[in-house]
Symmetry: D3
Subunit: 120 residues, 6 copies
């Protein structure tokens, strides 16, 4: 039942808690801004999660990709919609994005139960 997404989420929760314990006010406020940026507003959460995903892919951050792939699925993105986000990321960012596209597709499969968990 356990896979790398569960490990990532556990690590993420544990370390975010640890970071907030440090007590730096600027860091705390930044974390709040980050959370608020994806709330429904003039744009809905689904659109904002797709914005977060494409930004994470062109900046090539796997942990950020995982976070927003899950956010996109939870906000109701279809596979066809996600594939078009992936395509924009690939065209804008180039072949250097391909390893992160592999990661994104694997995360999507793991989250939706399409694939057996395998170590990367």
């Amino acid at each position: 039942m356990n896979n790398r997404l569960d490990d990532f989420q556990a690590y993420r929760s544990r370390m975010n808690k640890r970071i907030l314990e440090i007590g730096n006010r600027g860091i705390k406020r930044f974390f709040n801004l980050d959370t608020m940026a994806y709330k429904d507003g003039a744009l809905d959460t689904k659109t904002k999660e797709m914005l977060g995903l494409v930004a994470s892919m062109v900046l090539r951050c796997n942990d950020c990709i995982d976070y927003h792939v899950l956010g996109c699925v939870d906000a109701g993105c279809s596979d066809a919609e996600l594939s078009e986000v992936f395509n924009v990321a690939l065209v804008v960012g180039g072949s250097i994005v391909i390893p992160h596209l592999r990661h994104a597709v694997e995360s999507l499969d793991l989250y939706k139960g399409n694939a057996q968990p395998e170590n990367e």
Copy 2:
């Protein structure tokens, strides 16, 4: 009447034509892929232009920002929607994005006629 957006568009057209004259097949095909990536599909052009804009902002490319700011306005993005795209870009990309946020807002003002053209 003339401003830096007009100069950019003229330069862009002239040089893209020049690039395609080179006759490299890979480059031509890439230009086609780039154009197709923003066409209506599972996601509409408006959403895809916002994806292109946020990617351009976090990668900090002013010419790409101009291209997608205009695309977003043409596709019907409201100012409130654009401000939320800007906010996601700022939070994901950090203060290093601020000079490009200034550029994006100035381009938006120039395109919508909110501002007198001024040299940057």
Copy 3:
């Protein structure tokens, strides 16, 4: 008497004012966080401005470099100290930083009146 630093500061002030007029709460708060990050704390402003400068140089953002070169001088950095910040940026970021090192040194000269203003 006028030089590109004056132009930059005027443009920066005008556009930051314009950005805050947009009224996006996340963007406003981000601007506050950015300002606060360089205030005296466990580290003094001088050290933090040097941190901002080296980060701006390796991320290759000329506007950010100008902002922090001026901040470093105002906070009392000597030329010898600045040259060591430049060296760390160059070693960490590589030759791709060199055009920005030229920009930084020119900005420093302009700000300290060591050089006649010239168009870049």
Copy 4:
């Protein structure tokens, strides 16, 4: 006998197949463009693989580095030639490239059988 290069190649094949199953036409075409870019033309494959390697190193993508290190060896690059590609990458990209230089040299050793496989 098994090492991280074998794991990478198996993962790469499996996930590329999975990506193409998604059926997004833009992504498929991009993959074709990527393959074609390294074929013999005005420049031979050996030169193009070195171009791909230096680009991968300065953009700091380990999977891309592995792909092109193997491509360079297969195309006939000598160790002396590869060390000069590494040096250009290091000078252009700076010390931030060093962890990826370690990865590249380890991959080279693994591929040529110079080293015992070890977990990184």
Copy 5:
């Protein structure tokens, strides 16, 4: 007793030795420049290690972060000082830095014995 910092240091030493065996003069000299950049000068090692850390964080290189977190602790940085370096990195580099902030804080805890070693 063993944790990922020990593994990193062993790997780093082994591969740096291997890289220098290659005998490329440019690479050797670059490694010397890199070492010298953090020696006491107009700025002391403590300040320079903080410069190296913030640069590594905004460029998002975990191995470089580990190297400079340890250097900062060894040079006498307090936790409060390090948290302000982290905050500057976060504000300059944005949320894309957060996974590397988690890594930096975990490395700090491991090095200072505040945490039980856990696999990331």
Copy 6:
């Protein structure tokens, strides 16, 4: 007769001289390493200039692109060879490279006298 390449070369010479006057030993040595990296060795200057060009394009640095476009032409690269370097840069780096491809092609035209100088 004057164009932006001449301006760039004059600015580059003036500021490099100014940087070396600062007298920082690390910076001086870095400039030497940078020069040496493109000298004939196991790979010839022509190949190394192409490596420098593709690295400059994917890192999106116009001044570095100009430097290496001129170096490539001087080392004997044909237009067909340069177009394949451009294509590798475009595929690896994505559409974000396109503005820099326009710059590179314009620089090439200016240097070879194919185009009338125009302000960008």
